[in-house]
Subunit: 142 residues, 2 copies
C-alpha cells in the first residue's frame, strides 16, 4: 500500500527507524477512518496489542502528522484529534453539537471569498480552518 510506503520513506529521510509498533499504529490509524484522539486510537490498538504504550501511540501520531499522512485538529473539546489527509485537498467540518458527528465538506466558493478577505487586509493565506457547529439532520433543529 502506498500510504505505508510514504511513511517509511518519511522515516528514512529523517534518519528514523521503522518498527513493529509504528507499523501497527499506522495500520490502525489508516483503518480507523479519521478524527480520532490519541486516547481513542490507543484504546483501540490495545485490544489487539496490549504491549503498546500510550506514549508510543502519541509519538507515532506526531510522526504521521510530520509525514503528511495525518493532520492534527482541535475541535471544541480539549483533545487533539488526528485525521487522515490525502495531502493536497483541503476540507472543512460540520460538527453536530448534539451527537458529536463530524461531517466533512469542501466549498470552492468559500475558499475564493477567503482569498478576497485576505487580499483586502494585505494577508497571504497559508492555511485556514472553518468549522460549522450546529445540529445535524438526525438530531433536528432543536
Amino acid at each position: 500500500m502506498e500510504r505505508k510506503q510514504q511513511f517509511r520513506d518519511y522515516l528514512l529521510t529523517q534518519g528514523l527507524k521503522s518498527t513493529r509498533q509504528r507499523e501497527i499504529i499506522l495500520d490502525a490509524f489508516l483503518q480507523s477512518g479519521g478524527h480520532l484522539s490519541t486516547e481513542e486510537l490507543y484504546l483501540q490498538i490495545r485490544q489487539q496489542h496490549p504491549g503498546i504504550g500510550y506514549a508510543t501511540v502519541h509519538r507515532t501520531l506526531k510522526l504521521l502528522a510530520g509525514s503528511g499522512l495525518a493532520e492534527s485538529r482541535h475541535f471544541g473539546d480539549r483533545q487533539t484529534r488526528y485525521e487522515q489527509c490525502s495531502g493536497e485537498d483541503h476540507h472543512d467540518h460540520l460538527i453536530c453539537t448534539a451527537c458529536g458527528a463530524i461531517l466533512e465538506f469542501e466549498d470552492g466558493d468559500i475558499e475564493r471569498l477567503q482569498q478576497r478577505v485576505a487580499r483586502q487586509h494585505g494577508f497571504h493565506i497559508l492555511s485556514h480552518r472553518l468549522e460549522l457547529y450546529g445540529r445535524c439532520a438526525k438530531c433536528g433543529p432543536e
Copy 2:
C-alpha cells in the same frame, strides 16, 4: 457604563454576587482590548491588585463568557483566550503565523455560503469558527 451593568444584571439573574474582585477583573478585561488568555489577564491585574488570585480571574472569565460579554476561543496553542463580544455581531480572524497578530473581519458573503453548505447537509448552524492563517502585510508573503 452599560457593559458593567450588563454583567451585574447577569450575576443577579443567576443568584450570584457582585464583588470587588469581579469589578476589577471586568474593568481590566474591558480595557484590555481582547484576545487575552487567563494568564495574561491575571499577570496584568496582579500589577495593580496583587491580592487577586489566578483562580478568581479564571472563574470570572467564565462568568463573563456566560454573561455574553466575553467569548472563549482556541487558536493554535493550547490556551483558552477570551475576547470581548458585543453580543450580536459575529466576526472571524486573520492570524499572522509570523508575528502573532490577530485581525478581525466580517464577511456576509461567506456567512451566506456557510448557510448554503449547511442546508446541503441538512445541518442547522448554531455557530461557526473561521480562521485564516498566514502572513500579514508587515511580515510579507514569506
